[in-house]
């Protein structure tokens, strides 16, 4: 095949990028080389539009062992234990084939984690669908949930938390973000940096097929009318093989024969071999005839670009091949020595005795394009003057019912009941709480994790939205009694070539960075997914934040269910009545404009730290952060979980009742304490200058909001649980 500019463009490269390739090579690349460049230089692998901005994120901290740049981030949780975690998107494939797309997304992120030597101990997911009324939504949701469960359940890794939202901006481009946490001993972490010359390069796992060729390029293109043509790039997941691969890799890792290991993810053998060579500052030579292939007559181009799943690349110590092969034989997996490390600093490929590619590694990595794209700054929208007259026509109980049954608030039990969340025997907080919590096997420690996003806030004002979402993640961890340690992020945006979408990206990242820096909640891993759009319209900017925290003694974990009657309920943090962009404003008043609630990082940190102190002293019986739907929504969920009611006090506030109950001011928590502790708790809160209000008292059976409004627990449960079940049921 003749390589020319047009062919390069068909591979998703830009004209000047093609010229740059020719200049770097000082010749025209052959077809295999062009394929390799297109895979390495696309957005998905090269981060060419995002690198410039991502480098400003705070990535260091006293608990960070490994920040971004490896397969996953690693944090220290003491006693030689470390947690490896990362989140990743699989948006485009999931829209085309929801089951397999979501399944392979889960498979991919788990490989990222066990490549580093960690046994996966928990999965999370953040999934976003179009409007429930859209004709595709129901099937996409069902397919995605079945896919996530299908893969994770088979692997025997509990899915402990997640997030599900619906918004019409995802009608033509759903989001599927999967996150995995793994546990590893600090002195047994594996990296992808190759070292040493003449070391054998080993291929293990499944055979290479023609699946997913150019998957990485697809992830970097937007959906248009030609979507059909992009179809063959979807892969079929094989969780059984991955389970074997996990066990085989961990078995090999128990010894000391591995120099470097890297999973084959996007752009398969290409990116894995090049990354290992690049990090080790050396070359790799591969004989492609040695690669185990599923189909006859696969070309070098196909072998290099295949995205077949469940494969790994390993650089081994010399002489360990036989021993390693025995392990993979035992697990019935392919094992092949396919090449060796060299000092050439080039990637050199041979096929049928011919050299089919010869590319200096640095041209693919360091010299890959980086763009500081044009972007537009977003103005803070003007505050909306909400006519309080209209509140008079509203009844609190009806509004509450509507909000509790809103698709974005209602119980997601229909989803998480399909995920095995108890396998491995260490799940101590199941989905349905503020964060999922698993014990570190055989210890008293537990790890909490939560995944969050608030696209509406980010859309209204990306800078505030970016900050808010980090804070929400922080709060979810605090609410279960965990000390927040670090985050991973999956940045789902529209086209970086569109100035507005790019602006959303830049400012969300800025906000995210500010908040994580202030809260000492660094970013240790992440993933960028651009081109989430249909035709020219991008999705609402949707950064998903996966937060991880530590509970030193799992017995101190806190849950949100109310515990005992006569206990006192406090709201921590100030309620100012901010309704713009709240669920109340959008869903009840149909008002979609205005700024999102403001973030005050000082209060955020102070409130969170103080709550942790109270938890430490065992004052807190239950806790829940206040988010979507305001105080009364949060309180309702606590009632539902604990099967208890609350009698609200009349607030000594000047704001309107609806503002009091439904506003979405940030930095707030609801906590339950016993009367005897009230004085001590008050003292601690005052000493730490934390604003709080007494909200009410726990009772046995009703949420009593005012003289006229009394809602039974059963009614709350009904409002909260029926929508999704009914929706999926017919």
């Amino acid at each position: 095949m003749i390589v020319n500019e047009q062919l390069a463009i068909d591979h998703g490269l830009k004209k000047d990028e093609y010229k740059k390739i020719c200049d770097l090579l000082k010749r025209i690349p052959n077809i295999t080389e062009l394929g390799i460049f297109s895979a390495m230089w696309n957005e998905h692998c090269s981060y060419k539009s995002s690198r410039f901005h991502l480098k400003n994120l705070p990535t260091k901290g006293k608990n960070v062992i490994q920040g971004p740049g490896e397969n996953a981030g690693v944090i220290d949780i003491g006693d030689n234990d470390a947690i490896v975690f990362k989140i990743e998107s699989h948006n485009h494939p999931s829209f085309i084939e929801p089951y397999q797309g979501a399944a392979t997304g889960v498979g991919g992120i788990m490989r990222d984690v066990f490549t580093m030597g960690a046994r996966p101990i928990a999965n999370l997911n953040s999934i976003h669908f179009g409007s429930p009324q859209h004709k595709k939504t129901k099937n996409l949701l069902r397919g995605v949930v079945h896919g996530i469960g299908g893969y994770g359940n088979c692997m025997g890794v509990p899915t402990i938390a997640g997030q599900t939202s619906f918004d019409e901006s995802y009608n033509g481009n759903i989001l599927v973000n999967a996150m995995t946490l793994g546990h590893v001993k600090k002195d047994k972490i594996f990296y992808s940096k190759a070292a040493g010359l003449g070391k054998p390069v080993i291929y293990v796992g499944s055979k290479t097929g023609r699946d997913g060729i150019h998957g990485a390029s697809m992830a970097s293109a937007s959906f248009d009318d030609k979507i059909e043509e992009k179809k063959p790039t979807v892969q079929v997941g094989d969780p059984f093989t991955e389970k074997l691969l996990l066990e085989a890799c961990l078995e090999l890792m128990a010894g000391d024969s591995i120099i470097a290991i890297q999973d084959m993810g996007a752009a398969g053998l290409t990116s894995s071999s090049i990354e290992m060579a690049s990090k080790g500052n050396l070359g790799i030579e591969i004989n492609l005839n040695k690669v185990p292939c599923r189909e006859a007559k696969m070309t070098p181009y196909e072998i290099m670009l295949s995205e077949s799943q469940e494969r790994m690349l390993i650089v081994l110590e010399n002489g360990k091949e036989e021993m390693a092969k025995k392990i993979f034989d035992k697990w019935n997996l392919d094992f092949a020595v396919i090449g060796k490390t060299t000092k050439s600093k080039k990637i050199e490929l041979y096929f049928d005795e011919e050299k089919v590619a010869d590319i200096p590694v640095n041209t693919l990595v360091e010299n890959s394009p980086m763009y500081n794209r044009k972007w537009k700054k977003a103005k803070l929208p003007k505050k909306i003057k909400i006519e309080k007259e209209q509140f008079k026509t509203l009844k609190v109980q009806n509004v509450l019912n509507k909000i509790l049954s809103n698709p974005n608030v209602c119980s997601k039990e229909w989803i998480w009941q399909q995920y095995d969340h108890t396998v491995m025997g260490d799940t101590i907080q199941k989905p349905g709480g503020d964060a999922g919590v698993v014990r570190v096997h055989g210890t008293n420690k537990a790890v909490a994790a939560s995944v969050d996003s608030s696209a509406v806030y980010c859309w209204a004002h990306p800078l505030s939205g970016g900050k808010q979402i980090v804070c929400e993640s922080w709060r979810n961890l605090i609410s279960v009694g965990a000390k927040p340690i670090a985050i991973t992020n999956c940045l789902n945006f529209g086209s970086p070539e569109n100035e507005e979408n790019m602006g959303e990206f830049v400012e969300c990242v800025q906000g995210l960075g500010e908040a994580s820096s202030y809260l000492d909640f660094p970013v240790v891993s992440g993933n960028v997914s651009f081109y989430n759009q249909t035709k020219d319209i991008g999705i609402k900017p949707t950064p998903s934040i996966g937060g991880v925290g530590l509970i030193k003694d799992y017995k101190n974990m806190v849950t949100m269910g109310l515990k005992a009657s006569d206990n006192i309920i406090l709201v921590i943090g100030k309620t100012e009545g901010h309704l713009d962009q709240s669920l109340f404003a959008r869903d009840i008043l149909n008002e979609k404009n205005g700024p999102p609630p403001e973030i005050n990082l000082f209060n955020e940190k102070n409130n969170g730290d103080t709550i942790l102190k109270l938890i430490d002293k065992k004052f807190i019986k239950s806790a829940h952060d206040v988010s979507l739907g305001g105080i009364i929504t949060a309180l309702s969920k606590m009632c539902i979980k604990g099967k208890k009611g609350v009698t609200l006090k009349k607030p000594n506030y000047l704001i309107n009742q609806f503002e009091y109950l439904f506003s979405e001011d940030q930095g707030r928590y609801i906590i339950e304490i016993s009367i005897e502790d009230l004085e001590n708790v008050t003292k601690i809160l005052q000493e730490n200058s934390v604003h709080f209000d007494e909200l009410g008292t726990v009772n046995d059976d009703n949420l009593i909001i005012d003289d006229k409004t009394k809602v039974s627990i059963d009614d709350l449960i009904k409002s909260h649980t029926t929508w999704l079940i009914n929706y999926m049921g017919n």
């Binding site: 389970k243 035992k330 009941q417 399909q418 108890t422 491995m424 799940t427």
Partner: protein, 227 residues
């Protein structure tokens, strides 16, 4: 008491049940599916998980593995064999237990706590049980017990039903049937009652921090009965 837990490719509750058995006093050994001989055991456990990915039919391929010949002999000689979840499916596929486990009626994987009522205490698994109704955990996609009319008659005539899905008061009805199982069957014995298969996972409920503690009661009783 010596127990053995068999690991098939794709088993994923093997560690969980190992932890549980040890916690309640068993000396447990892990046995690889490709081994020929079972170690000396008072109890053999086929754990939950997805042996061979649950491909073809759950348990079908594991039932053909090498170790199963030994398990078969062991069981035929009166040895105690217990299959949990996927282990139950393997026992059914290998012919040690009657019937078959079909896909859940509502076509969805179910992970939750359920109540089960013990039907037959005249065996080493449930003898002297303090409880009639356990709260156990289920996590499966194919737990819908089914068998032919003749078989179900035989099963009932021989008192082979071990556990029924029930509500917390022991009522056995459609509402308390999570997966469509025939007659709410959650577990069955072979004729001799030395082989037990059940869908629920008692090993997931052995600690107050987990979904519950009824599993502890089950295991404590089990080891006492085997002594």
């Amino acid at each position: 008491m010596h127990s053995s837990v068999i690991t098939f490719p794709g088993s994923n509750c093997d560690r969980d049940v190992d932890v549980a058995l040890k916690k309640f006093g068993f000396k447990n050994k892990m046995v690889w599916h490709d081994d020929v001989e079972l170690p000396k055991s008072d109890l053999v456990v086929l754990p939950g998980g997805f042996s061979y990915g649950d491909y073809l039919r759950c348990g079908s391929m594991a039932s053909k593995s090498k170790i199963m010949k030994s398990v078969l002999n062991f069981a035929q000689g009166g040895g105690k064999v217990m299959g949990i979840c996927n282990g139950f499916q393997i026992l059914v596929e290998s012919g040690l237990l009657p019937g078959v486990l079909l896909r859940n009626k509502y076509l969805e994987f179910i992970c939750k706590n359920v109540f089960v009522k013990v039907n037959n205490k005249d065996n080493s698994y449930f003898k002297d049980d303090k409880k009639d109704i356990y709260e156990f955990h289920i996590a499966h996609n194919e737990g819908n017990y089914f068998c032919s009319n003749e078989q179900i008659k035989e099963i009932n005539d021989n008192n082979q039903i071990a556990l029924f899905y029930s509500d917390e008061n022991g009522n056995i009805n459609e509402q308390s049937n999570p997966n469509g199982s025939l007659q709410n069957i959650a577990g069955v014995f072979n004729k001799q009652k030395n082989v037990l298969g059940m869908m629920p996972h008692p090993e997931r409920m052995i600690d107050p921090a987990l979904s519950g503690e009824d599993g502890s009661i089950f295991f404590e009783n089990l080891i006492n009965n085997l002594k």
